[in-house]
Amino acid sequence: MSPSTANERFDPSTTLWRDGRPVYDRRDTVCVVGAGASGLAAVKNLREHGFGVDCYERETSVGGAWNWRHDRSPVYASTHLISSKPFTQFPDFPMPDTWPDYPHHSQLLSYLERYADHFDLKPHVWFGTEVVKVEPAEDSSWDVTTRSSGGYGSERTHRYLAVVLANGHNWAPKLPAYEGIDGFRGQTMHASAYKDAKELPGRKVLVVGGGNTGCDIAVEAATAASQTWHSTRRGYWYLPKYLLGRPTDQVNDRMLAARLPLGLRQWLAARTLRLTVGDQSRFGLPKPDHKVFETHPIANSQLIYHLGHGTITPVPDIRRFHRGSVELTDGRHIEPDVVVFATGYLPRFEFLAPEILGADEHGRPTLYLHMFPREHPTLAVTGLLQPDSGLFPLVHWQSVLIARWLRLRDRDLERAAAFWSRASADVGKRWNRARVKDSTRHWFEVSHFDYLKALQGALDELTPATATARSAR
């Protein structure tokens, strides 16, 4: 398992050409885009299955979204996990059991750094290198063009057996368009630019967005700002982080383990919330227009607490901005100094022609298991999921599946063809029993349970024949 040397990486004798530029053939190597949690899991699992891997990371260290040292990281000073530890860690590399149930984001980064060191992944990562173009080449291989981050230096193109896109989906801010926002006198910022409650003392703050980030920032503002409004489009179910003495997601999975049907779980959850938190509309919040588990779960124990203290004022959606005020849909005018848009992020694959991922009219990729585009069996996306749990267990098994799939294609064309034709039927299928409310992200919202069940089926299908024979003996 010695890391490949520079000579091995660029053998001039294997040079090919594309559009008059040299293409360095990396033959059986797989390219991974991004060294965040998804990318690292892909590097580790591809290596474990015997593949050579080149991973490109535009920042200078691992961690992706959790790497707070770079500008594009969405974390703010107080970010803690939303899902508890067992749902968040890689299934084969647990976090220390002495860590709290909901670790801090800096612990997450150190966890990812330890993961990279433990499995010796860094020799396979090219830091400070960004991917400019990913283009299909002959025999279902791929040409990947890279350059130094920031656009300095010349571009280089390498040819790979396959490409795994792990570039994340929480770095390109989504900003809604409001009438009159350009003339607004106050300060506006996207949550990605918000880092710390130190920016808020003495100011009047409007936080827009009922997601986990919006709630976290509203809670922070409540302790720092002179006044805090929290604007949401609809009523949500705010789950406390602890329920019945356990982390809430663990309670929910206990019910899942008992095979309770969705309807009963929804009723139980609503009932438990009603008994413990009470009627949310008492706090001035709109009544949820949907059942529990039909939007991305929001785990925040403190929001209700601050509403109860009157330190957060809930307000409806924004109608438009004026020079000195914000007009709400109920006709009220408020006068914030700062508006923080916790309105989410959009996935972006600008190095790739959109039709490759089967993009529909809204630009949403159409994929099998949220991973494989129909026309390109050697391209896969990992981490393009919004699960109702932590992401890492899902991306771990995704990358195991990719590795097994590439192995099978290599060894057993017949079985590979059978798998692919069956998989094609499921392209675009969603893995969520609850009817998820429409939003720009709902199409990759998955239930961890349903999604892992689908992955399990695919993994079993791709089990290497030799391993089956061995365990059957």
Partner: protein
């Protein structure tokens, strides 16, 4: 058998933390190409069993070695209600905290604990020495060899192992008595689980697994050794004339050298 990825028990009911004893021996000249080795003792034993001879010798051969006492054993926190899952959790926790991917070496029922841990941690390699994978046959044999030491264990009491089960005649009497005096016992629940013999899940990461034993073991019959080895697609490496406690018996160096040779040769 496939890897089971829906693990509601792990998610909904994670094992509680416990204070664990970990002993470490580092080589004077560290060799980066050699993986760290984590020793896991069997029921009743603690990290001390490896500290006696094996750790120092392995460190002398350039391996960074560690030994963990699962909860309720050795110097770790008492855990009278611990399960096999909790023991495996302790092993995985210590392994994942090491700087590099580790080799897991288990002895006796500790080999079963390692087998469970291999399903939760992609070890560089696994070594199962004198593995006790449990089942009623294990109880039958133990009752035949040591009726009064075993009988209470069958009813949730203490398992008392006898000198002739653990050591060969070559081991001087005072040493054997000393070791026997230090042996404690696993939790009653874990003892029951050993009898129920839930087969471990498939290892993750497809590590090479070596089975080491002795045909003269009075705890693990030869057929059991073969069965475990076959499970992992190999044959056991045998050291005749030794007792069950390979790491404490008079000729402790032979099996250890064979294990380390295997690790060096395979470049695991």
């Amino acid at each position: 058998m496939s890897v089971r990825i829906i693990r509601t028990r792990d998610w909904a009911d994670p094992v509680a933390p416990a204070r664990r004893e970990v002993r470490t021996a580092t080589p004077e000249l560290p060799d980066d190409h050699k993986p760290p080795v984590l020793f896991v003792p069997g029921f009743g034993h603690g990290a001390w069993a490896y500290a006696e001879h094996w750790m120092e010798h392995a460190a002398g051969r350039g391996f960074a070695v560690h030994a963990v006492s699962p909860r309720g054993h050795g110097g770790s926190e008492p855990a009278p209600r611990a399960t096999l899952r909790a023991y495996a959790h302790d092993v995985v926790q210590v392994a994942a905290a090491l700087p590099h991917q580790a080799v897991l070496v288990g002895h006796g029922a500790g080999a079963l604990v390692v087998a469970h841990a291999l399903a939760r941690y992609p070890a560089r390699a696994g070594v199962l020495t004198a593995p006790v994978f449990g089942g009623w046959a294990t109880l039958g044999l133990a009752l035949r060899r040591n009726l009064f030491g075993t009988l209470p264990a069958a009813f949730g009491g203490r398992l008392r192992l006898a000198r002739r089960q653990l050591f060969s005649r070559d081991l001087p009497e005072p040493a054997a008595r000393g070791y026997l005096g230090r042996i404690g016992h696993a939790s009653a629940r874990a003892q029951w689980e050993l009898l129920r013999a839930r087969p471990p899940e498939q290892p993750v990461g497809d590590p090479p697994v070596l089975v080491v034993g002795t045909p003269d073991d009075r705890v693990v019959p030869r057929t059991a050794l073969d069965n475990v080895a076959r499970r992992y697609g190999g044959a056991p490496l045998l050291f005749p004339g030794m007792g069950h406690d390979l790491m404490l018996d008079a000729r402790w160096q032979e099996p250890l050298d064979a294990i380390l040779d295997w690790l060096e040769k395979g470049d695991h």
